[in-house]
Amino acid sequence: MKTQISHQTRLLCLVILVLCGTACKKFLNVVPKDQLTGNNYFKSKEDVESNITSLYSKFFEKINQTQVMGAVGEYRSGEVMVNPLHFKVNEGRIVEALGRNDLHNAIDGNAWRDRYHLWDITNWTTYYQVIQGTNILISKLEEGIPGLGEAEKQQYIGEATFIRCFTYFWMVRIFGDVAYYTNPYQANPLGRENMVSVLNKCISDMKSKMNSMPWTNSDPSKKGSRASRGAAVALIMHMNMWNAGFDPAKKNAYYAETAALGEELMKSNAYSLLPLKNWDLVVKGRSAESLFEFYRSINYGDNVNIDAPIAAPFLRWPFRNPRYDNQVSLFYYTTEYMSKLFPEDLPDKRKEPIENDGWFGDQYGGGVYSGDDKFVMTKFAHNIPASENSAVNPDNTFLIFRYADLMLLRAEALAELGNKDAEAISIVGLVRARAQAGPYDGAGGDELKDFIFMERSRELIGEGQHYFDLVRTGRIMSSKWARHPLNRDQFNRRAWTWPIDHAATNNNPYMSLNDYWESSGL
């Protein structure tokens, strides 16, 4: 009797436990209605798409904070000045502070600090958010996502890797050495790593993932605006060229890789240069010339900070409204610089006003050499929305990598390699041909290198590349190339970087800041 009872009891308990055990998992699985938690996300291709969208958008948030691309990539060598006739000339003097490389003043100058708040540039948190986001996305993709085929998965991994590597590259150009990691949910603090090593890691990371992407996105809505193999190649070329400048011992290897990738890119025939008369398509975005850009469109209701595009301060009415505020453009390129860039005696369609498909001036004047009171850069004066009298910028994209940029980068690498001058000249010729400028007829060697540099400055004017070209080629140390050169000591102390927000040292014992800016900035 006794044993029977205990058997029964045990059996009863067992039955209860088994019943509950199976039902419990279901019972305990509550999908929260009020929030989307990570375990209920990444369940379909749509989730991946919307996540990757948020990463692009996150990065763009950073560019959109203020006049970022101009401040980091265009003005710091001093060729851009403020138009004294503009009614906001005092705010505009920020460009002169930038041009003197006086970043402390540029950030904190009383007249402009509230409008431009450049301290935002010194804070890299958002970039690291993008990096965490991509790391998490890649880890989720590697774990496998339902409904995603192997090819698609690899393509998304390639795209996420591009965003990650591009972010590092972008940060390296602004801050120099940065902390590098690729594992998701990185919580422990890290110190900064030598930028050459960071970029080398990014190069190998990107190279191993890029082949899963198509050369260019077949979906026209993603062309240029979303990463492709073309964008990845462009990024690797740029990273190589940067390292070539800072890792001279191995520079030939970097040049060789750039040249080889450039050749591969051009042979893919995925990209082409549009005729100048179709230039409006290039600056609108998603064109055959675009390898990578942050595409913005008023049709999508995209919000663009009025001060964010580099083009904005170089435009005036009728390209910007309201007319009474925009009689003249705020910034101008000095006549001296423009004369150097576009010699008066050489034909070049890019010098022409907008009516003739050129990039400078219009029917009201403001041509390429017009200087302080008239200058207008109509390179980005296309795609003007009907804005009545409200202040709206032209509806242009934020170009990052453009085909012409990469062609010239390839030419530069070839010229640097020393024995491929002819090839380099022919590539430069292609870019110049589009501008209906005469072919290069000078000698090889240094003259060719200098010419390619000038050609990059011409072709990419206002695209935020000029200062980085000066830095990576070391030309920033010569007054021949820069109106405000750095001396070698300043260069070695990384005067070309930006100061880093002191918040970086919070909770991070390994963190160091940019000494140049922490000492005096002189």
Partner: protein, 1053 residues
Amino acid sequence: MNNDHHKFYSMRHFIIAIVLMCCFKATFVHAQTKIKLSGKVTDQTNLGIPGATVFSGSPLKSLTATNGSGEFVIMIESEAELVFKSIGFMEYRVKLKPGQTTILVRLKDNSKEMDEVVVRGYVTRSKQLSTGASTTISGDKVQDVPVSNIEQLLQGKVPGLNIQVNTGAPGFRGTTTIRGISSLSVTGSGSESFLQPTSPLYVIDGVPLDADQASQFGFQQQGPGVSPVSMIPQEDIASIEILKDAQATSLYGSRAAYGVIIITTKRGNSPTPRIRYTLNSFMQKPPKLRETLGGNLERQLKIRQIIENAKSQGDIDRIGSTPFLADSLNAYYNNSTNWQDIFYRTTFNQTHNLAIDGGDQKFNYKTNLNYYKENGVIRNTGFDRYSLTMRMEYKPNEKFSFVGSVFGGIGKTNKGEGLGLLQTGVANNGMASSLLPGPSFFQSTSGVVSALKTKNDNNARNLRTNVEAAYMFLEGLRASTNLSYNFDSNTEDTFTPAAANGQFAKVYAFNGRSDRLYNRSAVTYSKSFGEKHNLFINAFNEIYVEGKQNSITRQERTPNDQFQGPLGYDAYYSRGGGILTDYRNFRSASFAGAASYDYMKKYVVDLSYRLDGTSGSGTENPYSKNPAVGLRWNFKQEDFLSKADWLDMGAIRLSWGMNINPNSSLVDIYGRYNINGNYNGLQGIGIDYGLIPNPNLKPTTTTQYNLGFDIGLFKNTIELTYDTYYKSVKNMVLDRYLSNIAGFGVLKSNDASIVNYGHEISLTVRPLKNGPLTLSFSVNGAINNDVLTQLPDEYNGQMIRWDSNQDYLQHIVYRVGSNTLSNYLRVNQGVYSNNRNVPVDPVTGLPYQTGGRFFEAGDPIFKDVNGDYILDERDYEITGNSQPIFTGGLSTNIGYKNFRLDVYASFTAKRTILNNALADRLRLMKDPFGDRAVVPLTDLDMWMKPGDVAKYPYAYNYTRFGAIQPYRLDQSLWEEDGSYLKINTVTLSYMFDKKLARRLGVQSIRVYVSGENLHTFTRYTGPNPENVTNMGRDASGGYPVPRKYNLGLNVEF
């Protein structure tokens, strides 16, 4: 209760029954004549026991019950055997002698340790067999002083239960911790820093309840909800049991990590319906308020202060341009307003409680109606409670039982314009200059209007139903199921009139609900093998389904004071609202099993194990495990002590157990994804960068060892319980702020650990138990030491929580190896008596300085920790301990005839308090041109002239308040010893003579006077060492704890 007795004594009863039957048979033939028997049933003090049941026959039949004075009359066969039973007393059997017609029965009460029962895992067990540490408080110890929250009456009654009544806000809870702190999370800043509460789990009549339900937003913002504990009428409480060690709590699972408090309400127990009425009318007085100098005294002091300390003629000239100093004839500036009097008041309040009960063992019922009203000592605050409890129990036979109960209550709180606990607005306005005219019909400041005219109405409605059915399948095997549903609806409406809010009225509305469905199914089995081996098995599972949703509406401007709704007429002034983020949709399922074995009640082994699964921890590994082991040796039962009469009982207990508390949510583990940003025509959904997901988040594990010793001597004259414990709390959640290269803001890490260890002792002495004079005295105390044993690695053993409030900068430091919550302050070493005492940097030749100014005589001596002759943010040091080390209480109960005097006191010792109240008072001196009051400083040991050796720096030199900040709050000058001994309650009661009561037409009358919070003995110089936050900060914006005088009446019909 009785049921269990049956179980344990069934064997003995059986034998007795057989013996008795033989006797019956023997007597059956002889006597058949019925006699009239009259008698009285009394307790040990000769007081009649009403409602005691008289049984006779075989099987036992209930014949009658005693009346209000314990008397009865029955017709019965002569020489019959009678059985007397009454709850709370030992059963008594007697056989009538031939010819006996009167009987006096004196029942022994079974409050003796040996016969007490305890609740373990929702079933009652004999305390004699329990291995865990717990304390039981009978309901009559929490009567006689009306309180809105019964917790405060437990203060000082249970060793190891540290209750600090740190707010006088009506309807709010103080802090309750069992065996030290278990949390590191501090919210808020400055005086408003609060340690996240870790309240014990409350189990009310078998239904678990979260005491903190209403305060999800942290301690200082309780939301509109009233704690469920505040909803329980004290008159309805039969007993309270506090479970402390892991063996006792482990069966309650994760929720019991901070201890368990079990409240049992009264049952119906009277064959004739009984009506009991309790009336309390009490007066609440605010404590002594801050002394201020009024009227002309204030003006004179301010002017003298300026003249004596002015740095330039301009300062002196400024008196002329400050009208309220210069223009003393102007009626507007010629007042002596007592501002504090405008806000604080003495209130009169009443509570009524009506309890009706009836029934017997088979069927009983009770109803309790309660009304409680308390007007706060701060005007425009208060708490009202209306509640109704009904319970019925039906037990048609030994096998089946059914219990149903309903509780409904409404709690209405008025928080005024404050948050309840904090009344910063009142505190701030109470410091206004006395020269200004008081509020009147024509004019009033917005602060005054805000404090007095803000309409705040909080309603917490609570409905709790509970049904329990049990069936005994076989002898010893019992299955039961309990289903309960709990629903809360909370609303808050605050209307701020235009005059209080920049000429625009403002409306805030909160609307929330929460519900819980709870089910428990249990199987218990008890069996004895061969007289000596006893086995008891208890297995049950619990299921919770919980939901909560709160929403708010805020309208910053409404058209006028008459328009208080409907809300939302103007989108521009609507300040958001909608569903709050504390939405909850939660489920949990638990399985628990316990086995208890004893050998002749001498050696006891308890084993228990519980699995808790919650929907919050994800489906991958949802279960946390709570094991426990307990051992007990009742050494009194040993042969060699069986003859020791002086020893009533003696036992040694040893237990080990773990409570594993999954503290993670799905968001913590997997992160939250938000809709954010769009790009290229697509909507982005990205991770929320506030909190980094931590898939490795481990549950907080509390491991506890307990060694206990119980002894009872000389027939319960002396009872002693001693426990020592070691409690290690591992994997505590600590927010780690990340470096910005991580992109995320905070990591919920669980690399922090605390150890609490200590001793608890409780001693009761009853020198006089019988006779007209009874006396009992008890004392209990606990020592708890807490040590921080681990922090996340990167802190290298020290983490500083910087105070974000720039006015306070009272930082907190967590240092491994020291007590958990220390202050991080500048060390004050006195006052520079002369200028030559200021140290001079031998390198630069400059005196010790701060903020560009050199220290002088009369300035405080701050320790220059790094020795650089400059006082800056590097000169902080670890100091103090905000948590008390000793807590305990004393009680004395004296009875003489119908009089009774009960005195309860509690004490707290070795605790550091930051006397911010004093600091605020002294800082009133910083601006003699301002419109703040001034306070008399003559009673302070303050530096007045060169050569003085003083404690407090010179307060009158207002020009030094800027750079030197002699009264800065981040200094150890404010650290004071917060030890105190408080006379909690004193009750003097008188029970009217039965005959007199009868003549008035009632069964009994009892009247009493009582007082609460009567006096606090302390060396602390602030207002009240208890009325401080749980971080030991005396916020002058807190709600003062009032003094209470009560006149009460109990009547039974």
